[in-house]
Symmetry: C2
Amino acid sequence: MSILLDSVEAARMVAQRLAGGPAGVGVLIEVDSDGHRCGVQPDAPELLAVARALAEGGVEVRGVMTHAGASYDCATPAALRAMAEQERAAAVHAAGRLRAAGFACPVVSVGSTPTALAAGHLEGVTELRAGVFVFFDLVMAGIGVCSVDDIALSVLATVIGHQREKGWTLLDAGWMAMSRDRGTASQAVDQGYGLVCDLAGRPLGDWILAGANQEHGIMARRPGAGPEALELQVGQQVRILPNHACSTAAQYGAYQVLGEGDQVTATWPRFSGW
Amino acid sequence: MSILLDSVEAARMVAQRLAGGPAGVGVLIEVDSDGHRCGVQPDAPELLAVARALAEGGVEVRGVMTHAGASYDCATPAALRAMAEQERAAAVHAAGRLRAAGFACPVVSVGSTPTALAAGHLEGVTELRAGVFVFFDLVMAGIGVCSVDDIALSVLATVIGHQREKGWTLLDAGWMAMSRDRGTASQAVDQGYGLVCDLAGRPLGDWILAGANQEHGIMARRPGAGPEALELQVGQQVRILPNHACSTAAQYGAYQVLGEGDQVTATWPRFSGW
C-alpha cells in the first residue's frame, strides 16, 4: 500500500497516523510536472523537507509519482511527446534529488493516458499508471491518442420515441447512463453526450447524443452536419460511445463483457469509491 | 407496474410485447406540457390514437403523465406558479379527452420539484411525482424553490493539500464524488461543483468547489468574491452541498443517514439503473 502526499504538513499528519499502525506502508511524494493540479515542484526545497518529515516519523519514502493532467489539452503528436518527456523528466529529477539526499526512492511513477502512448522513452521510470488507456474514449480520440474504432466501452440504448419535427430520436439513455461528462465540448469535434453507433459499434455518421435529460437521451444530427434521413424504430437498439470512459463506467455496478457475436461472455463487477 | 409511452408506434410495440405476458400491467400515456422533451400534445389526435392502439392490443390505458422539465428554467415565483398550472392543465385536459372517448384513465400524474411546491391547486391530479424534492440541492436553491439551509444531502470531504499561491485548498472529493453536474453554471449564482460548508452544514462563505479533477476537488473563493483568509489544515473535514442531488447521489452505493451530533444512524442502500 502506498499513500500519496505533497507537503510537510501532510507528511507529519501521515507519519502521526501511521505510528504504531501496520508495517509496510510506504509513501510516494507527489511531484508537480505541469502546474496543473498539485504536487511539490521537482526542484523545490520542500521535496527534501517532506522526505525528511516522513523519515523522522518512521515512514518509508517509497518514491515519487506524477500525473501530467495537462496532457489532456495537447492537440498534436509533437505536443504529446514533449509533455511525456516533461512528465518523465520531472519525476526522474525529483527521484535523483531524493537519492542524492540518502533516500532509496525505489518507485518512480508517471502516467496519464495521452503521455503513456507518446513517450519517446521512459528511462528512469519504474511504473506507468494509465487508466482510461484500457478502454479509450471520445476525448482520447479527439486528442489523437486513439481512433474511434479503438474505443472498447459503449452504452447499449433503446429507441423509445421521436420528436420528428425537431429531428430528434429519443433513447432510454440520458446523462444518468452516460454521465454528465462533456469532455469533447472543448475539442475540435464536439460529440455531445456521445457518438451513436450501430450494434456492432460502427458510428451511424454524424449522429450524436445532442442532449440529455436524466433518463432520456436526445439523438440528433451533429450541429452543422446537415440533415440526413435515418429512421430508427421504437425498440431498436444502438450503442453510444462515451466522452469519458471513467465517468460513464462509474454510473454502473459492473461491465458486461462481449465476445463474438455480441454475446455477453462475462460480467466484471466494478469497484466504486476511492 | 406502469409503462410510459407517447406514440402509436410505441403503443403497438408495447401491446405486442405484453401479449400473453403478466396481467395487471397498465400503461400511462406521456403528455407534453412544455415542449421540453417528449410526449403527445394534449390536444393532438395522436393521444386518442395511442389509447386505441393500446386497447386494441388488449392493454389497459391507466392514465396520463407529464413532467414540466421547463420549470427548471423559471426564475420567479410567478413563473413557477404559471408553469405548475400549465403542467396540471395539460395533464387534466388530456385525461378529459381520453375519458370522453371511453377510457377510464384513473391516473393523472404530474410532477417536477419546482412545480410541486408552486402549484396554486392540483384539481384533477391523482399523483404528484417529485424527485429531488426529498433532498433539494443548489439548483433548486438557485431557482428559489428552497433555501441553501434546506439542502439535506452533502458530501463529506477531507483537506489533502494546498496550492497557496493560487488560493487553492485541495480536497479528496473531485467530480467522481460530486458528479460532473454543473447545473448552477447557467444560474445567477454559479456554485462551481458545490458549496463548501463546515461539518454542521453551514456555508463557510463564498468558498466553492471551483474546479474538480477526477478525485481532486479545488476549493477556492467564488469568482468576484475577493480574497478572504481561511486556513484549513490537512486532514480537516468539510461538507459540500451538491448542484444536483440526483447526479451526486448516483455516484454512491448508499446514503449515510445522520442523526443528532452527526452520528450515522442508518445506511440506506441506493437503487441504481433504470
